[in-house]
Symmetry: C2
Subunit: 256 residues, 2 copies
């Protein structure tokens, strides 16, 4: 949020603004990260896949907290009613459903104890710091920036499609059940994007607000990229930090 | 939260702890406030009823933000899934339903423009300060205290029953439609209370945590009481603060 903006600069046209937002994805979305190339091309060991599932759980499970942080500062009941569906999509109902439960089916499918993954016990501290920064951003930054940070979902269907194809082609664990999370996101994310992109384009009408929205989306791509850098360093290069899951280690669900 | 607690003190038994929580209601719940005596006995002028509806809107409309603030710090998906129904009860769906919309039907019934009430334009600054303090409390205090602050709902069915009877008996505006908000709360609140009371009794097991829960519930009774004191001062005693709705004033929904 440190970009220097000339407050007298003319606003971008709606088309220019949308193009700038989309350009963030072209340049920085984590579909370009080398870990995803490795994962989708079948190059990951099962240890690496497991590490990815364990750490990405932290992100998945925190998304409803992030969206609740947005609701907690949203004075507009109509906006709250629409935004709430994001929490429903991820958390699901009291008994069943929801992206989080689908992620734990993936965890089971790759040979992990779902209770261990759900405990968050093996997550790298770096992953926690990154995810917490995202929650704080959405709680503290101006609403239009908080909303714009979710727009990485514009770029998500392409990576999910590639992931579904890549996992099914290259890994024995991949089946209809284990990839259910990604299939659901193919329909959930575009629904959220349509609403949020329109909202941001309509409400960020000064150049400083437009630049803040672009910076927020850039920040979010950093949140996604940094998680994969930490994962690569720990589990591909083999420098697992203290406290994080070690490949082959017995999985203890209880916190110490 | 400033009560001095001896950390070596023995925990209260479960029954003692629940009794202490219930005692807070006996001593401090706003069913004992003189404004409610006046309202329920037919003693309020329509100006006073309107002022109550306008200001209480601020509280009603902020409850989902308060509950979202709790979700935003709740790492337990199971707890989030249960707690989320509070937001659903108040906000309702994208198209209809929800306590907030029912409150606006009451607003219309007492002769107010619902769009004006929903704008929050006539709310007293004091009401805003009080309600904001509640949201901040739930966002910042330990989770068990945040949850315990909702337990004023233990005392709510009695006041809602009395209010429904009192309004129907004494005021022309009261009918099935305008009092729908209170009728719904008769079933919603006890469902939430059962879950939350059990949770607090089970999780606040040290004496300091038990005292923090009791202090949180006390704080919440203060939040409710202070709103009625401000209302009485402004609209019964007639000292309407700058910026607040004035009886008879044209209702302008748009913010200045």
């Amino acid at each position: 949020m440190n970009s220097i903006v000339n407050h007298n600069e003319l606003p971008l046209s709606r088309a220019e603004f949308e193009a700038r937002l989309r350009q963030v994805g072209v340049e920085r979305y984590h579909d370009k990260h080398r870990f995803h190339d490795r994962l989708h091309s079948g190059g990951c060991t099962m240890d690496e896949v497991q590490a990815w599932v364990i750490n990405r759980w932290q992100y998945q499970c925190s998304i409803p907290m992030k969206d609740a942080a947005f609701l907690s500062r949203c004075h507009d009941p109509d906006l709250r009613r629409v935004w709430r569906s994001r929490i429903e999509d991820h958390d699901g109902g009291v008994e069943d459903g929801g992206g989080i439960r689908r992620w734990l089916r993936l965890a089971e499918g790759v040979g992990l104890d779902p209770a261990y993954v759900a405990s968050g016990r093996g997550v790298m501290p770096a992953t926690r710091f990154i995810v917490d920064a995202y929650i704080r951003f959405v709680r503290d930054e101006p609403p239009v920036a908080a909303m714009a940070s979710s727009l990485t979902e514009m770029f998500a269907p392409a990576i999910h499609t590639r992931r579904i194809d890549g996992l099914l082609e290259h890994y024995d664990f991949a089946d209809r059940e284990t990839i259910a999370y990604f299939r659901h996101r193919l329909t959930e994310a575009p629904k959220d994007v349509r609403f949020t992109l329109d909202w941001v384009l309509n409400h960020a009408v000064t150049r400083p607000d437009q630049e803040a929205a672009i910076a927020a989306l850039t920040f979010k791509t950093d949140v996604l990229w940094a998680q994969l850098d930490a994962l690569w360093s720990a589990y591909v290069d083999g420098n697992v930090p203290p406290g994080a899951w070690k490949p082959g280690e017995a999985q203890l669900a209880a916190r110490p």
